[in-house]
Amino acid sequence: MVSGYELKIKMKRNSSTKKEQQFWAYIFLFFPLMLLAIFVFIPILFSLVISFFDWELMASQQKFIDINNYIEIFGDKIFYKAILNTVLYTIGVVPIQTMLALFLAFVMNQKIRGRTFFRTAFYIPAVTSSVVTSIIFVAIYSKEGLLNSILGIFGFAANDWLTNPHTALISIMMLNIWTTSGYFMVSFLAGLQNIPNSLYEAAKLEGATKRQQFWHITVPMVRPVTYFVVVMGLIGCFQVFDQVFVMSDGGPNNATTTMSFYVYQNAFRYFRLGYGAATAIVLAGIIMIVTVIQKKYFPPNPY
């Protein structure tokens, strides 16, 4: 039995610990928050500010030009080209990488020999520096590279994949699918392991084949993960930069200029910081709109 007096002491002790806990929680939150503020939040706000200026690095006084940067964007052919490339890139990459990741996870979740080896093999590209994988793929895609040698066996003519405007973007898309599928496979694997085995057993008793089990149980059951993978995939695709930077430098003839690459070009090649910031803001807006649309029409967990 807890007497009234003891109870009081207990309550008092509890409430003081709670206050103490809150104090330490704020202390621990403060430092990461500071870092985030300095390197993320303030730069975001600052880029919003300078998008209204004709910002010169060396000038002592910056010229406020109102929304002229934005007006210029809407007449900029290369910007439209960059949007088109990014959209094509996203449409090509997101569905394939999502399906491939789910398929790989489904296979890796079966009791097969060498499962650990395959899981690791598929995951390695995700933990390798994108610059490194890009350089390796530059070699693979080159005229004397691996891809052409393999295709040569089947009698295809050699193609210079990255300098041919028709194949440059697709080549980068393939690299990206290869690197991200393994990464998202891990997310799907976690999702798959949350599906109770009895669902598959029930379906098996009812006569569902492996394929039917995949479509009628696995796919609907991992829907929250699929949502996550598609959102992350969309954001990743809209922001694709390093592969373009390393492999094709936006060329040939802007065939691989994506939105973030265009932002970079304006800001750090042509040093038009204000204009670059404005393109970045537009890019952020587009990502936001797409995510909201996705959330509205494809909710993560309807059941």
């Binding site: 109770p196 057993e201 098996k204 008793l205 009812e206 059951m221």
Partner: protein, 368 residues
């Protein structure tokens, strides 16, 4: 409808662990058989082998005299109800029940007929468009049963279907399942760890422990004539009391232990002869212990002095827990709720001599 014949069935895992060590059970057409035992006894494994979800390592399984060992689960014409319901969360009640029929490419009209009939039987008609998450545990389990009914299987298999429900609902659902059995008259195999559930539901109960059948019989026979100490202790609540003692001979045979001297009832006198001078275990149920001051009609043992330790009054009756002459074991005695004892009370009781059980100390078999 089907008979099931299980012959010397074995399950071995790759690490040489024997889950099922050669089991024989035969199940008649339309029988409701309960597999019961403590956790890890192999009851679920046995059920899953009948279903085809586990491979059979040895022995034979027959449905209607047809060997089933390597027949695919879907071709065994069985339906199974799982402990966690195993409903498809993204499908409505209707679709959950219709899923298997759709896979069979059954005409839509017939699917509709079967599902609505099953829903009616189970009182689910108004929930037909709901998702599982919008329903209570009992309703979900009913959907799972409905999913089994619509397939019109030869055999229903239940794997602890009521374990996730609260006590009250559990009692209600077990009546419903029994009612369903009376209506459908299918062969049903039901797994539970709850001996009361087993007793309440089974036409026949198979008691398993460590992958071995300890006894197969009707509920009442298991209660009255347990073949071994395990079954005697497993069936009945509160459990049977056991006391170890010696057999001595005076003008007849007696079982003696500290402060207790009980004459062996006549039918057992002959078979107990060979235990003369040896130790045996005596079992007596809490139901057959009587207050000497109140019970005058039954043939009771000599006086046993006890001191009540704990009293559990559950309303309809009272369970009194006591120690015998300073022994560590706590025994129980059931009295009517009108005869309430208090802890510390000293009492003279007697045990009904017709209801005694004796067990061989080594084999733990019943001495008959």
């Amino acid at each position: 409808m089907a008979t099931i014949e299980i012959k010397n069935l074995q399950k071995t895992y790759p690490n040489n662990h024997y889950a099922i060590k050669g089991i024989d059970v035969s199940i008649q057409e339309g029988e409701f058989v309960v597999l019961v035992g403590p956790s890890g006894c192999g009851k679920s494994t046995l059920l899953r082998m009948i279903a085809g979800l586990e491979d059979i390592s040895g022995g034979d399984l027959f449905f209607n005299d047809k060997l089933m060992n390597s027949v695919h689960p879907k071709d065994r014409n069985i339906a199974m109800v799982f402990q966690n319901y195993a409903l498809y969360p993204h499908m409505t009640v209707y679709d959950n029940m219709a899923f298997g029929l759709k896979l069979k490419k059954m005409p839509k009209a017939e699917i509709y007929q079967r599902v609505t009939d099953a829903a009616k039987t189970l009182g689910l008609t108004e929930y037909i468009d709901r998702l599982p998450k919008e329903m209570s545990g009992g309703q979900r389990q009913r959907v799972a049963i409905g999913r089994a009914i619509v397939r019109q299987p030869d055999v229903f298999l239940f794997d602890e279907p009521l374990s996730n429900l609260d006590a009250k609902l559990r009692v209600q659902m077990r009546t419903e399942i029994k009612r369903l059995h009376r209506k459908l008259k299918n062969t049903m195999v039901y797994v539970t760890h709850d001996q009361i559930e087993a007793m309440a539901m089974g036409d026949k109960i198979v008691i398993l422990k460590d992958g071995v059948v300890y006894q197969t019989d009707s509920p009442i026979n298991l209660f009255r004539h347990p073949e071994n100490k395990f079954v005697a202790g497993f069936i009945g609540s509160p459990a049977m009391n056991f006391v170890s003692g010696e057999i001595i001979k005076e003008e007849g045979l007696y079982f003696v232990t500290r402060g207790m001297k009980i004459s062996i009832p006549p039918p057992l006198q002959v078979s107990m002869e060979r235990y003369l001078g040896k130790r045996v275990d005596m079992g007596f149920r809490p139901e057959y212990v009587y207050d000497k001051g109140l019970e005058k009609e039954r043939r009771l043992s000599t006086d046993v002095e006890i001191e009540i330790l704990v009293v559990e009054n559950v309303g309809s009756e009272t369970y009194n827990h006591f120690r015998l002459n300073g022994m560590d074991t706590i025994y129980s005695y059931r009295s009517s709720s009108s005869n309430v004892h208090i802890p510390g009370e000293k009492l003279t009781v007697g045990i009904d001599l017709e209801r005694l059980h004796f067990f061989d100390v080594e084999t733990e078999e019943s001495i008959l």
